[in-house]
Symmetry: C2
Subunit: 413 residues, 2 copies
């Protein structure tokens, strides 16, 4: 017997038929002899409507009231799923954040879970009841309803799994697992049976948007085994686990890409101590997130600094740096929004040399120029011209031996 | 300075524009120097959708889950109105039943308010904040969300007004007050400035559906002064108060009618002790509500019993009585769904003779046959053929001197 938290996202509970379908899945898991708790999102579309109402009344609305309004989406789903479960003979009841309770801080709209008292839920589960818990919400100090921010239902599920000491947290979604890369680009992408938390984090943050980053971080911290699987098909998904659970560590387990990048080069920056701090301090103050940074050696007392920012932040970054040009003392600013970041990720990299070199050779063979390189312990990222994205991803997927024997059926990573 | 509870129903908060309009009304009441708390319903249509979902999943759904789902309608309105108020400079915050708390019993779906701790709300009101409280809901034992049944927001408002010791409870609705009768039938119907609780109860239960009966009962018990007024116009409504507050007591203050009646006559019922108990016991067991009852004196050891039931209950009543015919021993059952109940209501009746006689004479003059008569301390009701409804109401309205000098602008009582 295992204890399992099952989480269903908005598309999985989009209408009554899908809610009935979810109930059947829960029933099967229960009939297999497991203790089950369920976390649900709002029916898809509902949250957007509620958010739109708040914004229409005031763009600068009180986040506490926003939370009160928006949290109703999940509340509706909990009640409906509890009814659907009872209807097919599964004892169930709904739980809102304040009922569990799931305590959060008071950062309304993007609150952090501070603690979950799982004792009432555990007692019910032992009696065979299925708690249906509202995702995305908790109760803040002062007894106000708080939400965890968009995508926060994954976080709720992982946090609940940790609190309940669950054996597994199954995240049901509209994809059937984590792939070596985007199957829309590489039809021979393979579904990964297992992937380490660290790999998942690198893949998620660079483009494989399956699991929200914060929930992977939490899973890693709390050692919650997470399974990503499809709510529309009946087959195992991908297990996100501690790397100790992965026996055959792949050198490279996935290729990620991101087109949401822009490159900025500051030419002839005076090469003196503190100049990098001045440049990136100004950007940080303007809330511009900087990703890759490259600075070459100096010539004639000046140097070039190149870095990437999110493409949406490019205008703001240009504006800030333009206003500060005199103080920073650089000669000119070059900006290029037509770039993509390609990353190879794998925990096996730590013990294998030559990983980066394989990447550079594969790209060179296709005539793809590398603009910026950045490496971490389990990742090598390069910046290339945006038009090379698909070509680069395919070349690397093949170069690292990731291609499946058969093309995958249509799926999205 | 007065303390006022303002309650807005579903049509008054049907969309964002109307919510903004409500916010302006609240602001005006506040700027007049009053302490204000607001009770809101769900945006119109929302509750029906939520109810339909529950029923579609299971006609016999768990009422606790139904309450969890349905209570979200009011929750959304509280948050949106709080935002709308803040936007125009009025400090406000939303309160759900469990936050106040409004404690109820565990009769989910039709719970009774058992107590309201108004201390937190009063403290906020003293600081100038407007509490926006979700109507229709409270928190039941075990920390579950409970709803008070359809129309329960009026009840919430009256109960809150009692708990806050408010000077007045203003019920904003889509009619502008309580009329002497239905202005759609009698264009010269007059809006009543004041009406006693007891009169309002009689008028409400026989057809003038302005205020939910349970909320009038509670207002009477707790001596809450209730004003019924329009949320779309800016003029005083009708005040429902203790009869001591009514100086000039009208003999008859209103004429009510109900077409939702059906008449049943049991012919030749054996005239022996306990027979009425047997007949009406059987109906009560089948949950059929019986209203007027007439039993004539016996002839030849048998009698006829006539009574009325709600028209929707007629098939059930026939069914029950048909199955029990042998035990009850009656000869035949006559049923007539084509009847209407006409009532004249007034607290002045207590001290005036001849009220019933005026009624009988006025109806006789129009050639309307009276089928059943029933009287109480402040009401005389008669059953007539349904096709005489309008004629009877108009004749009585004139006979009791209720006609206004001018026809009212279009309005519905």
């Amino acid at each position: 017997m295992a204890r399992i938290v099952m989480k269903f996202g908005g598309t999985s509970v989009a209408d009554l038929d899908r809610i009935r379908n979810v109930a059947q899945r829960v029933k099967r898991e229960k009939e297999a002899g497991n203790e089950v708790a369920v976390v649900v999102s709002a029916m898809s579309g509902v949250t957007n409507q509620l958010v739109a109402w708040c914004s229409a009344l005031s763009p600068l609305h009180d986040q506490r009231e926003y939370d009160t309004v928006v949290a109703t989406g999940e509340q509706v789903t909990t009640g409906l799923l509890a009814i659907a479960l009872q209807t097919i003979g599964v004892p169930a009841r709904s739980w809102q954040g304040w009922q569990v309770p799931i305590s959060t801080d008071d950062a309304h709209g993007k609150a952090r879970v501070e603690g979950i008292d799982g004792s009432a839920l555990v007692a019910r589960m032992r009696e065979g009841e299925v708690p249906v818990v509202a995702g995305f919400q908790g109760v803040a100090p002062g007894n106000r309803i708080a939400t965890l921010g968009r995508g926060g239902s994954d976080l709720s599920a992982v946090a609940l799994a940790a609190a309940l000491k669950a054996d597994r947290c199954d995240i049901y979604t509209d994809v059937d697992g984590v792939y070596t890369t985007d199957p829309r680009i590489v039809p021979r992408a393979r579904k990964l049976e297992r992937i380490a938390y660290e790999e998942m984090l690198e893949l998620a943050s660079v483009g494989a948007k399956v699991l929200q980053t914060r929930s992977v971080e939490l899973a890693m911290k709390e050692r919650v085994r997470v399974q990503v699987l499809s709510s529309f098909e009946d087959k195992p998904g991908s297990l996100v686990v501690d790397e100790d659970e992965i026996v055959e560590k792949e050198v490279v387990s996935g290729i990620a890409y991101s087109r949401d990048e822009a490159k900025i080069t500051l030419r002839q920056v005076p090469d003196r101590p503190g100049i990098a701090a001045a440049v990136f301090g100004a950007l940080a103050q303007a809330n511009v997130n900087v990703d890759m940074i490259v600075q070459n050696i100096s010539a004639d007392g000046s140097t070039d600094i190149t870095f990437t920012v999110g493409r949406a932040d490019l205008p703001r970054a240009r504006d800030v740096l333009g206003r500060e040009q005199e103080r920073l003392g650089y000669a000119s600013l070059l900006a290029d929004p037509e770039v993509a970041k390609i990353s190879v990720v794998g925990i096996g990299m730590r013990s294998h040399a030559g990983v980066a070199n394989t990447m550079f050779r594969a790209l060179a063979e296709k005539g793809i120029n590398i603009q910026v390189i950045s490496t971490s312990e389990i990742k090598v990222s390069v910046l290339v011209g945006a038009e090379y994205t698909e070509l680069a991803v395919r070349a690397l997927h093949t170069a690292y031996g990731l291609d499946a024997a058969e093309p995958a059926p249509e799926a999205a990573a």
